[in-house]
C-alpha cells in the first residue's frame, strides 16, 4: 500500500501555514489599531500593506532593511535545519559589525575584505555556544543569551578603545557615542551602489541586498547539494540514525553554530558597511538578530524562502514606520510577535492542512498502519539521545 504524497503538497502546506500565521498576525494587529484609534485603523492597515510599493524610495528602504534580515534569517534557519536554535544571532551580528568596521576603518581595508572579517567575527562568536554545548554540555540557549549581552558590552568597549572607530576622530562632531560616517572614515569600505541610488532615488540601497541574496543561494546549495549539507541535515533530522551512519555529531554542532554565526555576522557587516547608518554605543540588544527568528520560521527554514519572508517582514516594518506619528511603530513588533507565536505551532497547522489535502492523514510521529508494529516497550528516553 502506498500513499501518493507529491512534492507539491508539502510545499503547499508550508506556504499555507505561513500565510495562516501572517493573516492571524495582521488580524491581531488590526484589532489593536482598532482598539487604540478606531477611525484610523483601516487607514493604518492599508498603509502597512501598501506603503512599501508606493514609491521607489520606500521600496529601496524595504530592500535595505531586508538585507540584514536575510542574513540573520539564514543564520537562524541554518541552525534550525541542523536541529539547533540559534538565539545568539544578535550577539553574532554585533560582533560581526565590530570586525567589519574594524577591518574597514582601522585597517582601511576595502569593503569585500571587511565583509569577510565580519563573517569571521560572527563565526568565532557563534562557535562559543557550540563548543560549550559539545564539550561541556551547557545548554546552548542560555550560553547564546549570555553571550549576546557580553557581545554588546565588549563591542562597545572595543569601539571606544580604538579612537579611529569613534566619530569624533573624523572631526565632524564630538558626541562620542557612535561610529563615524563610513564615507568619511574610508570610502573604499562602503558597499558600492552601482547606480542603484539614482535609479531608486534613495541613498539607502546598494549591492548589499544582492550579496545577501547570493549568500542565501549559496547556503541553499550548501544544504541541498553538498556532502557536508547532507551530513549536517541528517544530524538535525535524526541524531540516532546519523550516529548509526558513523557521523560525528559533536563536530557538526560546532560547525553548524560557526556557519550560523558567520551568517549573522555578515548581516551586521552588510548593514553597517552600507555607510548609511552608524553604530551607536547603546546598551541594548539589536533587534535585527531576533527578527531573524520570524523570518526563518515563516520560511520553514528554507534558504530561498528566507529571502521572501525577509522581504515581507521588512516590508511591513517599513509600513509600521510610516504609521507614525499616529500609531506607534511597535504595533508591527506585535504583529511579528504574534506571527512567531502562531508559527511555534505551525507544525500543528501544517498537519491540519495536510489532513485536508491528503486523503488519509499521516501523523509525523506514528508508524504506518501496515507496519504491524507491536507497542514498543516504554523506556524513559534521555533528552539528548543518550547512547542507545
Amino acid at each position: 500500500m502506498k500513499r501518493r504524497r507529491t512534492f507539491n503538497s508539502s510545499l503547499l502546506t508550508t506556504i499555507l501555514s505561513a500565510v495562516g500565521a501572517i493573516i492571524i498576525g495582521l488580524f491581531i494587529g488590526y484589532l489593536l489599531l482598532l482598539i487604540t484609534k478606531p477611525d484610523r485603523a483601516w487607514w493604518g492597515l492599508q498603509r502597512i500593506l501598501t506603503i512599501g510599493f508606493s514609491d521607489p524610495n520606500k521600496f529601496a528602504k524595504v530592500l535595505y532593511q531586508a538585507m540584514p534580515l536575510i542574513c540573520t534569517g539564514l543564520s537562524v534557519a541554518f541552525a534550525f535545519k541542523t536541529g539547533l536554535f540559534n538565539i545568539g544571532a544578535t550577539g553574532q551580528y554585533t560582533v560581526g559589525t565590530f570586525f567589519g568596521l574594524f577591518a574597514g576603518i582601522q585597517w582601511q581595508l576595502p569593503w569585500y575584505l571587511a565583509l569577510i572579517a565580519a563573517m569571521i567575527g560572527g563565526a568565532i562568536w557563534g562557535a562559543i555556544p557550540g563548543i560549550c554545548k559539545a564539550l561541556f554540555n551547557v545548554n546552548e540557549v542560555i550560553t547564546s543569551i549570555m553571550f549576546n549581552w557580553i557581545a554588546v558590552f565588549a563591542v562597545n568597549m572595543a569601539f571606544l578603545n580604538f579612537p579611529m572607530l569613534v566619530v569624533d576622530f573624523w572631526g565632524k562632531s564630538s558626541i562620542g557615542d557612535r561610529t563615524p560616517v563610513l564615507a568619511d572614515a574610508n570610502a573604499s569600505a562602503v558597499l558600492p551602489k552601482l547606480g542603484l541610488d539614482e535609479l531608486m532615488n534613495s541613498s539607502l540601497v546598494n549591492i548589499g541586498i544582492f550579496l545577501a541574496i547570493i549568500v542565501a543561494v549559496i547556503i541553499w546549495v550548501l544544504l541541498q547539494k553538498t556532502t557536508f549539507g547532507y551530513e549536517i541535515k541528517a544530524c538535525g533530522y535524526n541524531r540516532d540514525a546519523s550516529q548509526y551512519a558513523g557521523i560525528n555529531a559533536k563536530r557538526n554542532i560546532i560547525y553548524s553554530f560557526m556557519i550560523s554565526g558567520a551568517l549573522a555576522g555578515l548581516g551586521g557587516g552588510l548593514y553597517y558597511l552600507s555607510g548609511t547608518g552608524q553604530y551607536t554605543f547603546l546598551k541594548v540588544l539589536l533587534p535585527a538578530g531576533f527578527n531573524g527568528i520570524p523570518v526563518a520560521l515563516l520560511a520553514n527554514s528554507h534558504p530561498i524562502g528566507v529571502i521572501v519572508s525577509a522581504l515581507f517582514i521588512s516590508y511591513i516594518q517599513v509600513g509600521g514606520d510610516a504609521l507614525q506619528p499616529r500609531f506607534v511603530r511597535e504595533n508591527i513588533d506585535i504583529i511579528i510577535g504574534v506571527i512567531i507565536y502562531v508559527s511555534a505551532f505551525a507544525l500543528v497547522l501544517k498537519l491540519w492542512f495536510e489532513k485536508l489535502f491528503v486523503k488519509r492523514s499521516m501523523s509525523a510521529v506514528s508508524l504506518r498502519d501496515d507496519d504491524a508494529e507491536l507497542p514498543p516497550p516504554d523506556e524513559p528516553k534521555g533528552k539528548d539521545g543518550d547512547n542507545v
Binding site: I142, F153, L160, V284, F290, D333, G337, I340, F345
Partner: protein, 326 residues
C-alpha cells in the same frame, strides 16, 4: 557609607532575580521550559505600573500607600499568570516547541508595553513614572539608617522585598512538604511514573507555568522599582539572567537565593566600581567600566561550565507529554 549602599543595592536587585528564578524553577520542575520569563516580567510590571499611576492620579495613593502596593503586587502576579497561559496553552495543549513560543512572548511583551503606554499616556511618553509613596521610608518605621545593617535592609525598601522572602519560604514548603508539590516535581522528572499513579500531568504543568507567571509578574514589578526610573518597557535581560540563576541554583530554592545575591552583587559592583578604592579601575582601557558590566554574564558562564557535571535539570523538561503513547 559605601558598603551599606552596595549591600542595599544588591538586595534590591537580588529580589527580582530571585522571584523570577523561583518562577522559572516551578515551571521547569513541572516539565515546561519557560523562556518567556522576560516577557512576563514586562507585562506584569506594565499592569502594576499603570495601576499605581492610576491611583496616584486619583490622588488617593498617599493615604494607604502600602495597601495599594499590595494590590499592585497582586495585579502584577495575576497579569503574569494570564500571560503565562499563552505559553502553557501552546506548550502543553498544542505540544509546540517551548523555546520558540517563549521567544515569541518575549518579543510581544515589550512591543505590547510600548503600544499600551503610548495609548494611555499619550504620544512619546514611553515611561510610566512610579509614584514616590511606594517606597517605605525608614523613618516611618522609626529606623535611622545609621549603620551598615540598617542601611542594607532599609535604605531602599519596597513592599516587594519582604513579600519576596515570604514567597521564598512558601515555595520551600510547597515544593517539599505538600502533596501538590510532590506531584509537580514528579511530572518534571518522570511524567509516565506520575501518570501511572493517577497524577494529571497536564494539570500539574499548567499549575507550574501559572506559578511561574505569577512570580515573574511580581518580579517584573520588583525590577521596575529597583531600577528607579519608572517602567520603560524593558527589564534589560533580567528574565534571562534569572534563568541562569535558576540553573546555577540547581533548581533548588535556597541555592537560588544565594545565586541571586551572587549575581546581583556583580551587577552592582559595576555601578560602584569607581567609588570603591580597592577595585581595579581598568584605567588603561577607555570605558573600563564595561568590564564590570560584562562580569555578571561572564561569571555566570564560567560557573555554568564548571558546574555542568553537577547540574541536575528536571529530567523531563522541555519534552511535551503525550499520554497517548502507552
Amino acid at each position: 557609607m559605601i558598603i551599606g549602599d552596595i549591600l542595599s543595592a544588591t538586595l534590591i536587585f537580588a529580589v527580582p532575580l530571585m522571584l523570577v528564578a523561583l518562577g522559572g524553577m516551578f515551571s521547569e520542575r513541572s516539565g515546561v521550559v519557560n523562556i518567556a520569563l522576560e516577557g512576563i516580567m514586562i507585562v506584569g510590571a506594565l499592569a502594576a505600573s499603570l495601576f499605581l499611576r492610576y491611583v496616584d492620579d486619583l490622588g488617593i495613593g498617599k493615604d494607604h500607600a502600602q495597601l495599594y502596593m499590595l494590590a499592585a503586587v497582586g495585579i502584577a502576579g495575576i497579569v503574569g499568570i494570564l500571560y503565562s497561559q499563552l505559553l502553557a496553552f501552546a506548550s502543553i495543549k498544542l505540544k509546540s516547541n517551548q523555546v520558540i513560543s517563549g521567544t515569541a512572548l518575549n518579543m510581544l511583551a515589550p512591543a505590547l508595553a510600548v503600544v499600551v503606554t503610548w495609548n494611555i499616556q499619550g504620544t512619546a511618553q514611553t515611561t510610566i513614572l512610579i509614584p514616590n509613596w511606594v517606597r517605605i521610608a525608614p523613618e516611618s518605621l522609626g529606623i535611622a539608617t545609621d549603620n551598615i545593617f540598617t542601611t542594607f535592609l532599609f535604605k531602599s525598601l519596597f513592599l516587594t522585598t519582604p513579600i519576596a522572602f515570604v514567597i521564598l519560604i512558601l515555595s520551600i514548603v510547597f515544593l517539599y512538604y505538600t502533596k501538590t508539590g510532590l506531584r509537580l516535581r514528579a511530572c518534571g522528572e518522570h511524567p509516565q511514573a506520575a501518570d501511572s499513579v493517577g497524577v494529571n500531568v497536564y494539570r500539574m504543568r499548567y499549575l507550574g507555568v501559572g506559578i511561574s507567571g505569577f512570580l515573574a509578574g511580581i518580579g517584573g514589578l520588583a525590577y521596575t522599582l529597583a531600577a528607579g526610573s519608572g517602567f520603560t518597557s524593558t527589564v534589560a535581560g533580567y528574565g534571562f539572567l534569572a534563568l541562569a540563576v535558576m540553573i546555577f541554583g540547581n533548581w533548588k530554592p535556597v541555592n537560588i537565593l544565594l545565586a541571586s545575591f551572587f549575581f546581583a552583587f556583580f551587577r552592582i559592583i559595576s555601578f560602584y566600581s569607581n567609588s570603591i578604592s580597592f577595585l581595579p579601575k581598568f584605567d588603561t582601557l577607555v570605558s573600563g567600566e564595561y568590564i564590570y558590566l560584562i562580569m555578571p554574564y561572564l561569571v555566570t558562564m564560567i560557573v555554568l561550565v564548571l558546574t555542568s557535571k553537577r547540574s541536575r535539570a528536571p529530567k523531563a523538561e522541555g519534552i511535551p507529554y503525550d499520554k497517548g503513547r502507552r
